[in-house]
Symmetry: C3
């Protein structure tokens, strides 16, 4: 599943190797001989291993076409016919271990074993009228369209594609990403590093390999020192015409729609789905797996802990319709003043 | 109006060209033959085009000395004698389009057409005892005083002036800026990139060219990974002796007074005016166009949505006098506890 | 006290020089002839100067083994026998002035007077199988273990030690730091710059020299554009196995325990003590000198203004037990709704 422009698959592994790497036990009676790759339940095919992370994924497990699936003993019976149940106590951990073995040393700007000897690799392709400033690093097979500007000390990792007319600021770093036309990426933006994903174990937090990409569509602007993590198994996507201010964080797998405005210091966690034309005010935080509907407006400094319908204005923490939040602020203010004098207090109760 | 050390003016444009570029219609009976530059209403002269962005700017329009002004049909009659009314439906958009034509490809570290061939331009002037580390980029006509330190991989754009005894950290990027004496700019600080300004259109967010500067006065300290945007038409100013902690965001046109303390992760929006000796606690946000008076102290994590008088202590969101905020926190806490038992509840009502 | 791998001591100074540099007056009858270094009261020895910053430090003063101590006239009598009282009106300022004289021009990536001529110093030692990408800067006496990856344009200051199997991202800067094995430092992280410490004076904020280090233990992950300041006199410490997400700020002298999870955009002030296994949700702020006990879980966007016991779940600002915070949110919401209609309101009072 991982894009071979960015990732080198060290598979396949035999079932016996998978058992040995992960400690899982393959249920008897299978015809699968080897695992080529990893994928989520809904996108896996017969050569992929997937995992079922608890009872709420039971329907996805039943419907999956995965060749093998890491699963707890209790849920193993729901593996569909032809899918090998790899029974283990921590399916997410086993999956992460297999992914680590398939893709060791991911997350860097060049392929393992082909370390860069100079700033600009021989295989780089750059369009007409594109300026690459001194000090920039362009990794293997980078492709940049015409009319672009690549700032001094920018670092563009292996396989990254950049469209036409796009500016990449000084010191920006971009890896595992496809960037559209007419984008502006400001200085110090970080695009494509690992998402923040771990499985808890008794020996510490086990890192889940991040095997997705970042897709930046056309006409996107990304502010200085912004961080956009690449997806774990899916992609992180920034929609066409969306403008992102400085110091914003966008977590892995999150999808942001078209023509959104994301103001400075906003933090959007992983696996969110933000609709088109959404405006998010400065310093707002959005919890993971939250959806914000098209055209919603979230006031500055809000905390969005649940999904929000589109077309409305929200504020506060937890974020709620803004009139409600304002009413609450007013009620509390009056109550606190009421405490100061008896008259004022009884007055407010009439 | 734009500082020619940082910007190359591609004008002048004839009135007919302006009409063609922007879709505006010049009112009859004018003697103006060409537009050399753009400026706000209060700073424009007879060679400048300006714009009137709604009825609240009518007094400024009447008093302006601009040679031409983009204005809605309804307000066109308030253009003063000798000022050409350029009638259009979206004056800010027309102005942005003209500014884009006058200053194409702004916002970069070198002049268009004079792309850098090496890290340090021939025209750079560096004072005695100043150390420039390997890997630093110094653009055309950069001037650095004596006794400075320029860190490895720092990127200093064309025309930037830096005073004496100033340290610029590794990976800092500075453009469109004048920096004073004895300043410390820490690693990864971003000074002078575009402000975050757009005009909404049916085809998306149209970028407003950012043609101002950043002025850093003497003895300022700027933390790691801080972002300070340059002004749109005015300047962003950091006053003498002000200390800014890591990861702070300062928006375009904002002016910060002398000897302020701005703690980590504060976000100050655009066009704010912060007085001298102001202290702003960590993670506080300040909305755009807000003034904070001299000597005000804003507690951490506040949200300043309206202007605050000087000399007082504030907290909460919206920020209010801190005793009031504390009282409100106490009232709510007691109310919530009161809900738990009937006795306690009736007790609190006596 | 300062680690000579990172700091060059310009002392010793005679008592007369100390008086002249700081304006303090040494009490009569002392045998101390010179001051070699500075240290806090509890770690100073007979060759060190320390300072007593107010009456609450009187017990520490009485117990100190410092050779000299800056102290107010009122507290001078508590200086123990053999310790020279250096009487002055602002002991912290005098101490900062002496520290500045002992360690001028600290905080940079190379020793003063030995400015780097090339990206990689001759004295650098790099282990087997370690890859240093083009454009990286490695200062004097840097030591890097085997199997590491140093990204393009990374800047590693003099004397820094990095263990085995550690990855340093592109554009990361590291100074005054010891980094363990198997760590991952993502692009643009800033480790080891000055903490944010000043003494107020009538001439402005006087910078307190930051003479400590950053210690990153094994298996730590540090996100993109994170900032971790080095200690003032002590060290900033990140415990083994702790994972830090993007854009987090960690202040000077703060100690974070083992296997913590610190989510994006968290800000932890200086001199905090965070126990093992603590989880801090995104955008939370922690005030200075706060302790958070082992295993505490602090929800996103909280404001921790006082120390928190371990093993519990907290939320809100000020952070409190999360059930209490939720109850308060509910109470306010119901109150505000009650204001809308008489029936609903009286209903809620029954």
């Amino acid at each position: 599943m991982a894009d071979s422009r960015f990732y080198d698959n060290r598979g396949p592994f035999s079932l016996a190797q998978v058992e040995s790497l992960t400690g899982a036990l393959a249920m008897a009676g299978t015809s699968l001989v080897e695992v080529q790759d990893v994928a989520p339940l809904d996108r896996a095919d017969g050569h992929h291993a997937s995992y079922c992370d608890g009872v709420k994924f039971q329907p996805a497990l039943r419907a999956s076409r995965a060749g093998a699936v890491f699963v707890s003993e209790a849920l193993a019976k729901f593996a569909p016919p032809g899918c090998v149940a790899l029974v283990c106590s921590q399916p997410a951990l086993a999956f992460a271990k297999l992914a680590t073995a398939l893709y060791p040393k991911v997350g860097y700007f060049w392929p393992a074993g082909r370390e860069p000897l100079r700033l600009i690799a021989d295989s780089v392709r750059v369009g007409a009228d594109t300026v690459v400033a001194p000090g920039a690093f362009l990794g293997e097979n980078v492709e940049i369209g015409s009319g672009c500007i690549i700032g001094s000390c920018a670092v563009i990792g292996r396989g990254v594609r950049i469209g036409r007319g796009t500016s990449i600021g000084a010191h920006a770093s971009i890896s595992h990403a496809l960037v559209g036309d007419r984008c502006i990426v400001h200085a110090g933006a970080r695009i494509g590093q690992d998402g923040f994903g771990f499985v808890g174990t008794t020996e510490g937090h086990y890192k889940i390999p991040q095997l997705g990409r970042v897709i930046i569509q056309d006409d996107v602007e990304i502010g200085a020192n912004v961080t956009i993590d690449r997806g774990a198994l899916a992609d992180t996507i920034i929609g066409e015409g969306t403008k992102i201010d400085n110091l914003v964080q966008i977590g892995h797998n999150t999808r942001i729609g078209r023509r959104c405005i994301i103001v400075s210091q906003v933090g959007i966690s992983g696996s969110c789905d933000i609709g088109d034309f959404v405006v998010i005010g400065g310093q707002t935080g959005v919890a993971d797996h939250v959806n914000i509907g098209q055209g919603a407006y979230v006031a500055a400094k809000s905390g969005v802990s649940r999904s929000l319908e589109g077309g409305k204005v929200y504020g506060g923490f937890p974020a709620r319709p803004i009139e409600q939040w304002r009413r609450e602020v007013g009620v509390v203010s009056r109550l606190a003043k009421g405490k100061q004098g008896k008259n004022e207090r009884s007055g407010s109760q009439d």
